[in-house]
Amino acid sequence: MATSSNNSPALLEIAEVSKSFGPVAVLRSVSLQVAKGEVVTIIGPSGSGKTTLLRCVNFLESYDSGSIRIDGKEVGYRDAGTRQRRSERDLAAMRAETGMVFQSFNLFPHLTAAGNIMLGLTKVRGKGSAEARAIAEHWLARVGLAHKADSLPAELSGGQQQRVGIARAVAMEPKILLLDEITSALDPELVGEVLAVVKSLAEDGMTMVMVTHEMAFARDASSRIVFMADGGVSAVGPPKEVLAAETTNERLRTFLARFRASHF
């Protein structure tokens, strides 16, 4: 195990996780701990392994070595030593404990906004449809879409779809919420409404790991920022430290400079 905890045990513990696609190493011994209630944003150039890392946390991707634990429970394998993959049923149950929001929304096109949220509640959580509907309406109201409960995804704007995506994930009451570049596919004017929802969830104490290119948001909303480069964690710390212009980390400085040049 990586050098571990202070007083409170981490909710998410990623320890020395490595993964290759053929000859290409996408994750090189990545370790990261996230405490309950923390908002950790992951930044870095494309191809640095940010999204892959996130997808390993709910085992949408397998990894070659290392261990990922949520609440002390190994995620994809029965235990890190034997690396015996969990059964599909087990994996499904594990995944229900993490919520994920996707870059391309990935709403179920045949279901209404409420239906998208209700599917997991009824099929995975075993709730009756009236209760599931009430929960769906509660969360839709929370993301400002109470009036769109019966709209199909095709009838919603990108920002609205993504807010439904967030509602679908949090309605399951996950222990941790994973957000994968959730504003990258949105028109600039729609980014704000989605980030506002994320911010309000953060204020409620939702534990989140978020891959993003929204630097201003990362600076304002995160407890810590992780900078990834070449499949490894290159820098990690509070926003002020990581985003400081005078950082000695060469890769980080180049990344930030390039970022500032292209975005301002």
């Binding site: 709910n58 949408l60 599909e88 049923r89 499904a92 149950a93 594990m94 995944r95 229900a96 404990e97 993490t98 919520g99 994920m100 996707f102 391309s104 929304f105 990935n106 709403l107 179920f108 096109p109 045949h110 599917l119 997991g120 099929k123 995975v124 199909l152 095709a154 679908r168 994930a169 399951m172």
Partner: protein, 221 residues
Amino acid sequence: MGYTLNFNLIWRHFDKLWGGLLLSLELAVISIAIGIVIGLVLAVWYVSAGRVVRTIIAAYVEFIRNVPLILLVYLVFYGVPTVIDLAYSAPTSFVVTLSVYSGAYLVEVFRSGLEAVPRGQLDAGKAIGLTPWQRLVHVRLPTMLRITLPALSNTFISLFKDTSIASVISVPELTYGAQWINFNTFRIVEVYLVTTAMYLVTGYALLFALRLVERRFRAAR
């Protein structure tokens, strides 16, 4: 040029055509229903199976697609009972043939539809904790259906017309009825005009109904 159309004899025997049309529809509906089951099961199996199963399913599809239906009809009706001791009526024999035949075409339609379901949707299904079976039933199949509806409609119409082949083993469907009237009245032009119109109208009605279903689903996308 001295030919004058006379439909009187056709109308006198119209019950042959009407009864034939109903039987054609019955053959089509039963065969397509069985074909859908074959097609769905094999397509779902195909996309999740290893190479051996895939090869076997592909061989079935290729065999059916490259052999004329009329040959398959002869093979099942005359060939099979000669080899194994099994007696069945001509309509049953034809339904078996057309079911297996439509199954092969529908495997292809469903398979390509299943593969066209965006991966992100399956990821989303995984992420909320659905089991593989739940992902299939609640995510993959509904989207697949939406994608394949236009191709399905075309296949159904085509299979309905294929029921005319049943006439070669004396199943009294629409084409057989037409032949019967022709042999007994020699009103070849009239009988085939009427029969053609009946196929056309029925085919169009089917297509119209299927397009309505499509439109409903498309609106819901």
